[in-house]
Amino acid sequence: MPVTPMNNRKLIWSEGKVVPVVSIILFIVIIWYGFSVVLNAPWEYDKAKRSSITLSKVELISNTWSQKRPKLPTPHQVTKEIWDTTVNKKVTSKRSLVYHGLITFYETIYGFVFGTCLGILLAIGIVYNRATAMSVMPWIITSQTIPILAIAPMIVVALGSAGFSGLMPIAIISMYLSFFPVVVGMVKGLKSPDQLEIDQMKTWSASKFQVLHKLRAPRSMPYFFTSLKLGMAASLVGAIVGELPSGGGGGLGFRMLSGSTFGNTLHIWSGLFSAAILAGTLIAIIGVIQKIVLKRMSLEM
């Protein structure tokens, strides 16, 4: 039995990633089509029984793949729906996925930017002030165990009745959710220089600000980008869930909810896929920036 040389980890990783990924995706797509038939068949059979028709295998398959309200839409159905609602609709129309996508995007970005800035500030406070660290850090860690996302709808409702509506309350939720991974990651990152590097700075009698800006900040870069990715993902989920109670605001979460309420499964799936594409794109952008910055700093981790 061939033993994979695990010390050639890098070799295994860098070459031949495309083929396995593509083949697994293909495999998933095939299985998906299969499940479409299985899950959509009952409805087909019902319909056929009511019109006293018997379906051939081929008819069954092609019918289950083109239902109007399928239990499991096929990939091509979802793609067509996305295409229809993005390219073929005006961006300002409420039927356009781009319209909803943009709403969610803005909520996410505003929340993310503010959450990150706040997170960095608090992290610096925690690293430099022991009183802050001792009082606040346990709460930050504990809050990660609390399903804060569950309150999102309530915050939107509460702020709504106080007169704040629209993008703002949802952006606040996103900010709150992206804040935590950033604080935790940056505290780790700012504390990451080893004792030797700290001692070096001491022998040069460097000021606290000099140590922060010349040593701690560069050393925290890898942690920073990792937390940015987590923060972005959290922010997006926060935006989507925050849209749920809004009842009319818009956005991908709202779209999925209305799809669920009115039984329009294609809306649900296209909304979900769009959210995934949005998340993937935003995180990929951070990833590219990460690669460039870390490469320039010779800090690939």
């Binding site: 239990k71 009183a131 660290a133 001792m134 009082s135 709460w139 165990t145 702020l159 106080a162 799809g259």
Partner: protein
């Protein structure tokens, strides 16, 4: 008056915390700052709501929440069992077991690992919560659909962490196993699983929160007349925010308990790891 009392308490508490931060490290003393901080926040919250006549539909005072909590324990318990135990816990266990099995298979078959890991990483970052309406549609309103949502949500992070952990054993240790002519199974059981444990627990800890969130949010999409998510989504539009906050308190306690449980398990199993021995 009340407000100023709260502010003064906050300042005093902060001064005490500063004093404590200058003392020598002590387990006992280190409990005070977070507790004092939390208490002063609650104090300020209560006084602000009372002093500025904040409407209870925006933010109820802690005292009202406490009263509501105490008087609704049967309902809260029922919700807890529905969401946290039936939905979150079962989904968590299913997702974990599934993720372990797939990780072991992926470990044996390198092709699968190479293909699955990038996809897994991608999906772990996705708003998987969006799957909730779909699963509710398939599995109905009962706790089963919530468990399904949770299982899917925890599957990918645990898969990614486990696969990474299984790769983590040192070359030296693996070479030693090879000199003993140990089989794949023996190497796995005696070396690689133990080395993977810290990573696996990393994933397990993150997923405790994900599980609870998944169960609660999934209930927003449809639920029988109980469950934490159900309660929040019905009480919030009625502006019975004290009940909502009471539910959130339950969720907070459930989340902390769940997380704490996994941490204890981690301490027991990975007692040998530097992070558990107190060497940060």
């Amino acid at each position: 008056m009340y407000f100023w009392a709260a502010i003064i308490f906050w300042i005093l508490a902060w001064l005490v915390n500063i004093w404590i931060s200058h003392q020598k490290e002590s387990r006992l003393l280190s409990l005070f700052p977070p507790v004092l901080f939390g208490v002063s926040i609650i104090f300020i919250w209560e006084s602000c709501v009372v002093t500025f006549n904040v409407s209870p539909v925006i933010l109820p005072p802690p005292s009202a929440i406490y009263v509501k909590f105490m008087s609704s324990i049967p309902i809260l318990w029922e919700d807890f069992v529905q969401t946290a135990i039936k939905g979150a816990l079962s989904g968590y266990l299913i997702g974990c077991v599934a993720a372990f099995i797939v990780s072991l298979i992926a470990d044996k078959f390198n092709f699968l690992e190479r293909g699955l890991l990038p996809i897994g990483n991608f999906l772990a970052a996705m708003p998987i919560i969006g799957i909730a309406p779909i699963l509710v549609m398939w599995y109905g309103y009962g706790w089963q659909s919530k468990a399904a949502v949770v299982a899917v949500m925890v599957f990918f992070p645990i898969l990614v962490n486990t696969v990474q952990g299984l790769k983590m054993s040192d070359q030296i240790h693996r070479d030693l196993m090879q000199t003993y002519n140990a089989s794949y199974l023996q190497t796995m059981m005696k070396l690689r699983l133990s080395t993977a444990m810290p990573f696996i627990f990393n994933g397990l800890k993150i997923c405790t929160t994900l599980a609870l969130i998944g169960a609660i949010v999934a209930e927003f999409f449809g639920s029988p007349i109980r469950g934490m998510g159900f309660r929040i989504s019905t009480e919030a539009p009625r502006f019975a925010l004290d009940m909502v906050w009471a539910e959130i308190t339950v969720a907070a306690m459930a989340g902390s308990l769940f997380y704490g449980g996994v941490v204890l398990l981690e301490k027991w199993i990975t007692f040998w790891h530097p992070s558990q021995r107190g060497k940060t």
